[in-house]
């Protein structure tokens, strides 16, 4: 006697659920945002769809809040933002990181020159707190295609940052891959380079979850006047990706000492 009702339930539920499938919203439009700042950063969002709301969750807060006006950020951290509307499925959540910077080099130079098509504004452009847009020709990005990139920077007196952040672009369809490793060296009093920090993509796997990659490297406690950063490109593009077998591009728009 129980077989029929059970079959009916099995047949009905998937149909009913599928029948109410909603279209999904896009995330909020980010009108003003810079990930890198000296004292504060302003986040301005927009979403012009009747009945829709923007929500955000700021790292360290206990509750999500409805967005009603531009937000001012004064500390490093991240904000999650998304949209809601009763007639649509919530949007994916965008995570926007914010990085405060305290150390600006007095001098900087490339020991590996970027490709002439993507030369940016030279090495100083990597320390100007200007975030590159999605237009790789906007002058903020430096593009490289060799095995590694080496950048030299120095301060007027010794500094002791706790970490370095390298901001990169990731777009495998455009043959652009994030770095596979980063090494940071400081020059000691004898003029020799000492490794003070290293990050390596041990697994070799790249998830391509977002077009921006902020890779941090923790540094040792020794202070230095001069630092050298070696960023390794991804090398050859692996199988089953656009450009398979060719050298991947590496794009950097900012390097931050914190």
């Amino acid at each position: 006697m129980m077989k029929y009702p059970l079959l009916v339930l099995i047949a009905f539920v998937p149909l009913a659920v599928a029948g109410q499938q909603k279209l999904k919203l896009a995330p909020p439009k980010v009108r003003e945002y810079t990930a890198f700042f000296l004292e504060k950063s302003t986040l301005q969002l927009e979403f012009a769809l009747d009945g829709a709301e923007i929500w955000y969750f700021k790292q360290g807060d206990s509750l999500a809040e409805k967005y009603t006006r531009p937000l001012v950020l004064e500390k490093s951290g991240e904000i999650k933002i998304w949209t809601r509307h009763p007639d649509f499925e919530n949007s994916d959540t965008l995570v926007l990181p914010f990085f405060e910077s305290k150390y600006f080099p007095a001098e900087s130079s490339f020991l590996t020159n970027p490709d002439s098509l993507y030369a940016g504004t030279g090495a100083k452009g990597l320390f100007d707190l200007k975030q590159g847009s999605r237009d790789l020709h906007d002058g903020s990005w430096s593009g490289f295609r060799g095995d590694s990139v080496v950048i030299l920077m120095s301060w007027k007196k010794k500094v002791k940052p706790r970490m370095v952040l390298v901001s990169e672009f990731d777009s495998p369809s455009a043959w652009i891959w994030p770095a596979s490793g980063i090494e940071v060296f400081g020059r000691n009093n004898q003029g020799n380079w000492e490794k003070t920090g290293e990050w390596k993509n041990e697994s070799g796997q790249v998830k391509h979850t977002a077009p921006r990659v902020f890779q941090t490297v923790s540094l040792g406690k020794m202070p230095y006047k001069t630092y050298k950063i070696l960023v390794r490109t991804n090398g050859r593009i692996p199988a089953n990706f656009p450009g398979e077998g060719s050298n991947a591009w590496l794009f950097i728009d900012e390097i931050l000492f914190q």
């Binding site: 149909l15 896009a26 455009a174």
Partner: protein, 335 residues
Amino acid sequence: MHRRTFIQQSAIAGLACWSDLPEDPLLGHGEFRYRLNREWCLGNTALFPVKNCHELAMDRRGRIFMTTDETKNNILIFNKDGKILDSWGHDYPGAHGLTLHDENGEEVLYITDYERHEVIKTRLNGQVIRIFGWPADSGKYPEKSSFKPTETAIAPNGDLLVADGYGLDYILQFSPDGVLKNMFGGPGQLKNAHGIALDNRNPARPQWLVSSRAENQLKRFDLNGELLETIELPGAFICRPVVNGKNIYFAVLISELPWDSGTGYIAILDENNRMTSAPGACTPHYDSEGRLNTMYQTIKAFRHPHDVLVDEHGNLLVTQWNSGGVYPYFLERVA
């Protein structure tokens, strides 16, 4: 799930209550609102596979022709209900632009193929009539591979206009028998000249309407190729303009870079070339100086729309590039 499918499946199961189903929300603004049907075509993708679906054209019998770069069937032919009637074409790896034109009573197709670097004129059954090759004698094209045509249009005198949207961004004007007569546009005036249409809304003054996709602009040229006007449409990477009645319709591939951002939508301009509706995007708004706000996707109804076909009732069919190999979507006009 669309209602038609739901009814079909409900009939099989003998279950579910029709009135329990919510209406899909409408897309668009003002007089141009639509109900989206993502299952207009329920064709068998094993029999009729598609990769990138590029452009659409309808013949006088109401049959809808579509280009796809799937060489198992580069041209798919649908009826108005989304049933696949026929297919042909295995030699068009870069099948892209599609223009249907009545030439002395016979309807013919112009297919641009950016992989073959050619425009191919065919009968509706696929028989090749003429091939327009790369413009070797133009002085601008050093080699065949630099010519990557994306779109065509037919001039009032029967000349063929070709937009070299993936090549050097020139608009090339050929006589019907393939002689290059004129070139205009090019890198100084166009960037990604992806689409072209004859704008004959003012019959006394027909003009060319060309999309400069990477610049988010439509540009108007006179029939001699003189640039007349630039229409700024920020946030609109326009594939090709489609003139219908007093309006211009177009698919916006993306509203922001990168090219695979999946942020596309549809746009409709009024008789003054102001955006009046944008299904899938924010409300178009013009400031006091007449500048359109930067448009952006709000509803993920589409990923990368590539072309729009407007039927006699004002409904839309939309093809998509790089969107999971889906057949065209149907937008039923409800306002």
